[in-house]
């Protein structure tokens, strides 16, 4: 591919949302016939950039040039008509319609006002064969094909509109290895036809396998654009996370508690789930904080969910205090003294319609059953106690939790589980989206809990945080537990090496 003129050139793009500067002077360009990976951690601005490009949001500042002309799409449809097509992570197709219908829905070939099914099926077959190099029975309902094939159909639908730029947002997240290979073959095929492909993924291996060029964003800022071959993995991770290896000395390390012959509170042996996380071994002792590090989508949350029984493991075993435990529902895990604060506070943590008091006592009350209701007075005592202990604001137990800030909601969820007096507390991104002060408070709390003998599994995207609190760290990459670090080994450089991998 020649460095002549980019088909897309974005310069100094700004996009602000209330309270957030989502894109802060971002540059981005693409050439015909390349696969371009857009990289960055959560909140880096990747999806905002895509939405600006496809006309979902207008830009607040900067220039966009598409095929040499200024370009300001006001809707996804306009962007599509200009030749920019997007395939989103979730497939927005109708499983009960045929493949051909899905490809042509809304623009069916017509003959005297009636849909010409034959023409449509022929066109769909030709499209799939010529551009994607696949043969399918296009009259079968889409739902009868695998997710991978459905993805191909989604691509075919996007391609049909004489696309010159194809955006694939996390296309591989639900595919297995063979399916990924097939998708990559198709991407290369399309590339040779001169299409520009913007590829968003969390899997580093895949970036190096298929992309020609990488643009890195961090915190809404443009970090750089590099040919993939010239950017070592470790450097990529550093740029994404924003730490320079040279500056990372070894921080003073808390010595691990006397983890001698004592058997761990919880031990996972070959525990795994297809499509979630590959089998892993992990042990967490009482009074110990084990950190999980890895990029988003690397299997951290999936690990936590298996240990809490939120997802059912399909292989391996789990031992609690030496005895095998079948943790196939949250209730069973709770009965064993395990607690779990989900990373998805809104969807899996708080009950928006309930008050702070009710949210705090929910797990304890559920454990007791309906009839052994805590008296209203006891509930208020508990709520007051935890509001004070965790400094939840406003200090009103009857406030609906939806009216609290993210940090305070997080504290309420923490209170819910502390009230259970768990033996193992699993915290998945407990400090995400909350302010610095609250962050430090929660970290201090976690440390003091472990000193009192609680086992903690601590998951965070922020390496510093993981390093600061953990006595051991398990590093994950591409849904595999790749490395375990303990004591003095826990350094940012080592973790990053492990995250970046081969």
């Amino acid at each position: 591919m020649s460095e002549n003129r980019p088909i897309l050139k974005m310069t100094g793009i700004h996009k602000r949302f209330p309270g957030v500067h989502a894109l802060n002077g971002v540059d981005f360009r693409m050439f015909a016939g390349e696969v371009h990976a857009l990289m960055g951690e959560n909140g880096a601005g990747k999806s905002t950039l895509i939405k600006v490009l496809t006309g979902v949001y207008p830009i607040d500042g900067g220039e966009v040039e598409w095929e040499g002309r200024p370009f300001h799409p006001r809707s996804p449809l306009e962007a599509q008509q200009a030749g920019i097509s997007t395939v989103y992570q979730e497939i927005h197709l109708c499983p009960n319609l045929s493949v051909a219908e899905n490809i042509f829905i809304g623009r069916e070939p017509r003959k005297f006002g009636r849909i010409s099914w034959r023409a449509m099926n022929r066109a769909a077959e030709a499209l799939l064969a010529e551009r994607l190099n696949v043969k399918l029975d296009v009259t079968r309902p889409l739902g009868s094909f695998s997710i991978a094939v459905q993805q191909l159909v989604a691509i075919a639908r996007a391609l049909n509109i004489s696309a010159r730029l194809l955006i694939l947002d996390e296309p591989t997240s639900s595919l297995d290895r063979d399916e990924v290979n097939r998708l990559f073959a198709i991407m290369r095929h399309l590339k040779r036809q001169g299409l520009a492909i913007l590829f968003v993924t969390h899997f580093l291996d895949q970036v190096y396998e298929v992309s020609d060029r990488i643009t890195i964003l961090r915190n809404g800022r443009f970090i750089g654009e590099y040919p993939t071959r010239e950017l070592p993995r470790v450097e990529l991770v550093q740029k994404m996370i924003g730490k320079d290896l040279d500056l990372l000395g070894s921080l003073p390390k808390r010595t691990p508690p006397s983890a001698g012959g004592e058997r761990p509170f919880l031990q996972a042996a070959g525990l795994g789930r297809k499509g979630g996380v590959e089998p892993f071994d992990l042990a967490i002792g009482s009074g110990e904080i084990v950190g999980l590090a890895g990029l988003l989508g690397s299997g951290r949350t999936e690990t936590a969910r298996l240990l809490f029984g939120a997802d059912r493991a399909d292989q391996g075993k789990c031992f609690v205090e030496g005895r095998e435990a079948k943790l196939d529902s949250p209730r069973k895990a709770i009965d064993r003294g395990i607690a779990f604060c989900s990373e998805n506070r809104k969807a899996e943590g708080i009950i928006e319609d309930l008050t702070v008091r009710e949210n705090i006592i929910l797990a304890l009350q559920a454990h007791r059953g309906w009839f052994r209701a805590l008296s209203r007075r006891r509930q208020e005592e508990i709520a007051d106690e935890y509001i004070r202990a965790l400094d939840i604001r406003p200090a009103d137990p009857e406030q609906l939790i939806r009216n609290l800030s993210g940090g305070n909601q997080q504290k309420v969820i923490l209170a819910r589980w502390l009230l259970m007096n768990p033996r193992l507390l699993i915290l998945d991104e407990p400090t995400r989206g909350i302010d610095v002060g609250a962050k430090a408070e929660i970290q201090r709390l976690v440390l003091s809990l472990s000193e009192k003998g609680m086992a903690v599994l601590f998951i965070s995207s922020e390496l510093e945080e993981v390093i600061r609190v953990s006595s051991r760290v398990a590093v994950l990459r591409d849904r595999r537990h790749v490395r375990h670090l303990a004591g003095v080994e826990i350094r940012q450089s080592a973790i990053m090496q492990a995250i970046a991998g081969g």
Partner: protein, 347 residues
């Protein structure tokens, strides 16, 4: 914090009810006349309580189902089945006046109702079918079952004890009013004195988070659907006993829609979560008052449904905060309408 009565979730339903009564006061003052006669009170208001009690009972059960983000379309059929079951048993009995026979018939009818509620609950909580589909099955099949029980005929019974349930009087008021009050108080007690209410709201508001908090949503859903069916069963007994006959074709026809309407008017969202039993009661009374008003005012039958629809539309519109805001915005700028989310508690 001072109690701001306009923010209460009961304000708008009560206002609508008040408005309806005001119309009656202006057009038909005898609507409010209550006489004392043969040892009981007698008047339109009493009739509203009497004829409104089956709807109120069904709506109380429906409230809990809707709070779990579900819906129960089968209540109308259950009303028919329960009445048919009881009347069939009594009509086959040797002595229709026997209290034992009536008691047995009532218990049998209620047991059948609860069993059918269990079926609904199993489809929803066990098989994971969407509630609207799961209960649609019994809505359609139940009508057939009721017709099968009555052989498509109207079963007339002469039992005095049975007649008492729907048409008897106790301490100057219709007995059915006490039944409705009992069901309401029981539901209120179950949901507010035990933690069932909180669990129902948690499941309705956020099923995923509830599961992770360790709530047994399956058993709660089963209980709720069974309770709703029990309510429908009681309503069926009242309806059939009121006219001393069971009509498998028409008993409880469309009551599910009126019940859903009562729940929504009462301020419980169809999306589940927070519910208000008191609001539902007001909603049910509003609907029955509207029906009686239409009869009293002599609205021609050809347009009664249209009149009903307009009143319901008006009530629903003034209930909608965004509609009120839109109206307010067109007039003089006012302070923004306080959000209903600030309501702290209800009974």
């Amino acid at each position: 914090m001072p109690f701001r009565w306009r923010n209460s979730h009961l304000f708008w339903p009560l206002a609508a009810l008040g408005g309806l009564l005001l119309i009656n006061l202006l057009l038909k003052p005898e609507f409010f006349a209550i006489r004392y006669q043969n040892g009981h009170l007698y008047g339109s208001l009493i009739d509203i309580l009497n004829f409104g009690s089956p709807l109120a009972i069904v709506a109380v059960g429906m409230t809990l189902v809707i709070a779990t983000r579900g819906i129960d379309l089968s209540v109308g059929s259950l009303v028919a089945i329960s009445g048919a079951m009881a009347c069939l048993t009594i009509s086959r009995g040797a002595d229709q006046q026997s209290l034992h026979l009536v008691l047995g018939a009532v218990l049998l009818a209620l047991a059948v109702s609860v069993a059918l509620g269990l079926w609904n609950g199993l489809l929803v909580a066990g098989a994971g079918i969407q509630p609207i589909i799961a209960t649609l099955i019994l809505m359609v099949a139940g009508r057939g079952i009721a017709q099968l029980i009555t052989s498509g005929q109207i079963i007339t019974v002469t039992s005095k004890p049975y007649h008492f349930i729907g048409a008897g009087w106790l301490f100057t008021l219709p007995f059915s009013v006490y039944l409705a009050a009992l069901v309401f108080l029981f539901a209120a007690w179950m949901t507010r004195r035990t933690s069932l209410g909180m669990f129902i709201e948690a499941i309705g508001c956020n099923p995923a988070a509830s599961r992770l908090a360790g709530i047994r949503s399956r058993s709660i859903l089963l209980a709720v659907y069974m309770f709703c069916a029990l309510c429908a069963g009681i309503a069926g007994l009242i309806t059939s006993s009121n006219v001393s006959s069971a009509d498998g074709n028409n008993a409880g026809l469309w009551i599910e829609l009126d019940a859903i309407l009562a729940v929504v008017i009462g301020g419980t969202s169809l999306a589940g979560g927070r519910f208000s039993l008191a609001g539902t009661l007001v909603g049910a009374l509003l609907i029955q008052t509207l029906t009686t008003t239409i009869y009293m005012l002599g609205v021609p039958p050809e347009i009664t449904l249209v009149v009903k629809a307009f009143v319901v539309l008006a009530v629903c519109l003034i209930q909608s905060p965004s509609f009120r805001r839109a109206i307010a915005a067109r007039g003089v700028p006012r302070k923004p309408v306080a959000s209903r989310q600030e309501v702290s508690r209800h009974g």
